[in-house]
Every structure is written in structure tokens, then in C-alpha cells.
Symmetry: C2
Subunit: 290 residues, 2 copies
């Protein structure tokens, strides 16, 4: 169990009414929204050595939109909180990036906060509209369900390596800086499935997604390595690399057949743990707090 899980357990024990905590998004049925919040810290989640301020703004909003897409809702509004030794140029470039993504995904920026801090930190809250959509929960997977994905795994980690080691590979670098999202596929899944499904984005890597779904749904997950969509040969990046923002979904076979654009990489069965080509996979979550 890593530190983050330990902390989440403490939080759940301390709070009297935390029945919503577990998914990246909270689903407020009464209000017909899903809502998600994420923080990005300079030199922890991003470095100004490798990213321009505009690229930082873009990626920060994309990462948060991705959480809403993984819930099955339609991203609609965002609040942006920016802390740092803020300067005019940074603000302008950062918000130019924010604006590009907001326009592309038709999201309104409805507020936020600006404060002084030593290092840049960005906290974004995105609100999605859940009307006419079936919303995901990590608890929804069942034995017999298909594990399917959209997007390619490991490319973002490869892109970061290229930046760090000064390797010129625009393909991977672009996917690291400006990840591809899958709004159409998310919408189709949320509208066409008839059985409950469990969907996540691979912000913390493929195995992390499978582990969360497996744990919360109490199923064993079996995948085949050669079926995973990928362009890199680095196995560790494919399985554990974060920030690809691929969709990873567990859904019934009947529903799987209705959805175009996703690829089957495995299935759920009775038991526990993640198995790759019948060998148990080590769980390595992102250790933020070692």
C-alpha cells in the first residue's frame, strides 16, 4: 500500500460523510453534474525547462477535462486557480493555452483565484453535465466484463524521456505536451451502454487504472501485453507511464460490441489482482509521498 492510499484511508476515516470519495470525479446526481479537481505543482508535475507557459496551461486543462470524460459526462465549465510568483507574461501565455483548449472543447472558464507562492501551482476544477448520460464508477466491473482502451500507452513517458535526454522525436514529445483526448468515444460509451461500466483515464498509467478498478470492483483482471496499443518498446512506460490520458474501460460484452474505436486488451474474472499474459503484475502507483 503506498502513502497516497494510506492518506486516503485516513481522510475517509476522519470525514463523517465521504461516501463520494473513490472516483476521480464526484457524481452529484441531484444536480446532474460530475465534478473533478486536480493540482499540478511546478517541478513535481511539470518543469518550465521542458514546457512553455502556454503548453503548461494547455496540458493542465486537458488533464482535468480528461477526468470528466472518464466519468462519461460532458465537460462544460472550469475554474482555474493559479499560484506563483506571477508575472504579466506568464499570465498571458498560460491563459492563451487555457483558452485554446477551452475553445476546442467548448468549455467556459467561470472563475478561479490568483495568489502569490514561491513555486507555480495550478488547481483546476472542471464540471461536467451528466444529463442523458450513464456515469461510470470504479465499482461497476463484473466478472466476464471486457477490458478495452482508446489511445496509445507509454508515448507520454517516452516523450518526457526525449525531452530530458535531448532526443529529437517530435511524435512522442507532442503527445507528452499535448495529449490526445477521446470525447466522442466517452460520449458514445455514456450514451450507448445499457449495463453499468467502469471507466478511468490513464493519468497515472495503465496498471494503476486496472488496479483501481480491480480493487474497487473486486475482480481479477487479465490482459495480453501484445494487445495493448503502443508505439514505444519500453515495457515499463507502456504499463506504468502516466499522462497518456487514454480511456480504460471495463464493460459488458454486449455493450463492448456497440462501441467503435475501443480495443479489447483483456477481461475480468473472479478473483483479485492484475495478470499480464497470465503472470501477476507488480503494482507501482505514482509514489507522490515517498
Amino acid at each position: 500500500m503506498n502513502k497516497e492510499f494510506e492518506f486516503l484511508n485516513i481522510i475517509n476515516k476522519t470525514l463523517d460523510n465521504s461516501d463520494f470519495i473513490g472516483d476521480d470525479c464526484a457524481y452529484l446526481k441531484q444536480l446532474n453534474i460530475t465534478i473533478s479537481t486536480d493540482a499540478l505543482i511546478e517541478d513535481v508535475h511539470f518543469s518550465r525547462r521542458y514546457m512553455t507557459d502556454e503548453e503548461i496551461g494547455k496540458k493542465a486543462l486537458l488533464a482535468n477535462i480528461s477526468d470528466i470524460l472518464a466519468s462519461g459526462a460532458k465537460p462544460k465549465y472550469a475554474l482555474i486557480t493559479l499560484s506563483g510568483k506571477l508575472e504579466t507574461d506568464f499570465i498571458k501565455n498560460f491563459y492563451t493555452g487555457i483558452n485554446d483548449v477551452a475553445k476546442k472543447y467548448r468549455i467556459k472558464i467561470i472563475g478561479g483565484d490568483l495568489t502569490y507562492a514561491e513555486k507555480i501551482s495550478i488547481a483546476i476544477t472542471v464540471i461536467g453535465d451528466s444529463r442523458k448520460r450513464k456515469i461510470s464508477s470504479r465499482k461497476n466491473a463484473k466478472k466476464g466484463y471486457i477490458i478495452a482502451t482508446a489511445g496509445e500507452f507509454g508515448s507520454s513517458a517516452m516523450g518526457l524521456k526525449c525531452l530530458q535526454e535531448n532526443i529529437k522525436n517530435e511524435y512522442f514529445i507532442k503527445l507528452h505536451k499535448s495529449p490526445k483526448l477521446y470525447p466522442k468515444i466517452s460520449e458514445t460509451i455514456a450514451k450507448k451502454t445499457t449495463n453499468p461500466y467502469a471507466m478511468m483515464d490513464s493519468s497515472d498509467g495503465l496498471i494503476d487504472c486496472l488496479y483501481q478498478i480491480s480493487k474497487q470492483s473486486n475482480v481479477k483482471i487479465n490482459i495480453e501485453y501484445n494487445k495493448i496499443p503502443k508505439k514505444t518498446t519500453e515495457r515499463d512506460f507502456v504499463l506504468y507511464g502516466g499522462e497518456d490520458y487514454c480511456l480504460v474501460v471495463a464493460l459488458s460484452e454486449k455493450d463492448f460490441k456497440k462501441i467503435k474505436g475501443i480495443k479489447k486488451i483483456g477481461y475480468c474474472s473472479e478473483g483479485q489482482g492484475i495478470f499480464i499474459d497470465n503472470k501477476i503484475a507488480k503494482y507501482k502507483g505514482y509514489e507522490h509521498f515517498e
Copy 2:
């Protein structure tokens, strides 16, 4: 014009669809919610020298609930993002403070994020239910409107001074650490007024509230110093001290007569600027970015 205004102007120019920015809360009519987000940074907004971790949690959530109360909505849900060199004890104590306030105000904690950072930073988003309530806008004040308040001004700044200079005055220290909020008065205003009103909380001080309302409503505001509710004799704290979280409201005379618990301190007239006892008041906003 201070830096924060300059930055907000840049953001407004950079974003194509930012018609919501201006109030602390965004009002999403379509969804019947108001929503607000705020960041608190260690050694900028609070110091662990003067506050326990539990008190930090309490005050962080109170400050954000206050923004929703100032909008006129009913606070319902919160998302908590916590960054820092997080340790088990800190998490437990911080969330104990969060839980106390959440229980008192019947707020559900529905999610958040935990990340590593050098210094503690807290970003909280609170969602309010706006159904059956008239929502405030800073643009709503008109000439002839009454300026009225709930709560006492300057006590929080006085409490901070007591902590910093080791003066034993539990009254002011308590108000600094655990500010009083006015949910009943906010509810009455939101339900009983028939004309549009402009309400703010005095998180950045009384004059800041009056300045924002005056500027966005294009009215002159006149107040009498001796009518301002206060327990401290430090004039600068009363006018410019932050974190009292008093309600400051501009409302029609007809509506003012219906609301119990608020005190008239002045009125709006044609023109610009803030006048205290007929002398123009200097505007000193919180200079976060000097």
C-alpha cells in the same frame, strides 16, 4: 490599480468567453448552482507558527463557505485539494478541522486531490444550491441603495496582531482563527429581497468590498465611520483588515427594512469612489503580487 486587477484584466482579454468572471462566485443558472474556488498558501495566507493543523483546516473551509454565503446560495458540497510534504498526523488533524466545519454547515466533502509540494497549499472548491434564492451580483447596486453589514470589522486583523506580538486577547484571537459566518442572514437576504442586490464577504477588508461594488455597479458609496460595527480602535484594521468574513450588502431601502440582523452604515449615490464621513477613502487592496 494593483497587480491583481492588472492580471484579471489580462485574463479577461485572453479568454474568449469569460462573461462570468467578476464575482467571487460563478453563478451557473442552468445548473442552479453557484461555485467558488480559493487557494491558501503556507506563509502567505497562514502560518503554522500561529495556527494548529486542525485550525488551518477549519479556517480554509470556512473562508470558502463564506464566498458561497455571500452569493446568496446554500453551501452544499466541497472539494479539497491539499499539497505539501504531507504526513499522517497533518492529514488527520487537517481533515478533523474540515470535518467539524462540514458537519456544522451540513456540507459533503465529495472529492479532491493530494499532491507533494515543498510548502502546504490548499485549494478548496465549494458548490452552493441556488434554487429558491435570489443570487447576488457586484453589478447590482444602484443610487439610493443602502449599504448594510453583518459582523464586526477589524477583529481578525487585531487577532493576528495579538498572535504575532504575543498579546493575550482570546476574543480577537478566536475571531482570527475561527471566523463567524452568517448563514441565516444570507438566506434571509436571498429569499426575502425583491430587488437585485450586491453582496460580498469582507475577506479582503471592508473598503475592498465597497470598492468592488462601487466600481462594478458604477455608484459612489458613502459611509459613516462611527456606524461600522467594530470592537477594535485601530482604524486601519476596521477599514482594510481582511478575513473577518462579514457580509457587506448593497440593497434597496424597501428590502433593507425586511431583513433583521444587518446594520446600515451608508448608502449609494451617483458618482464614483468611496467616501467615509464625506472624505474620499484611499483604496488599499491586498497586494498579493508586489
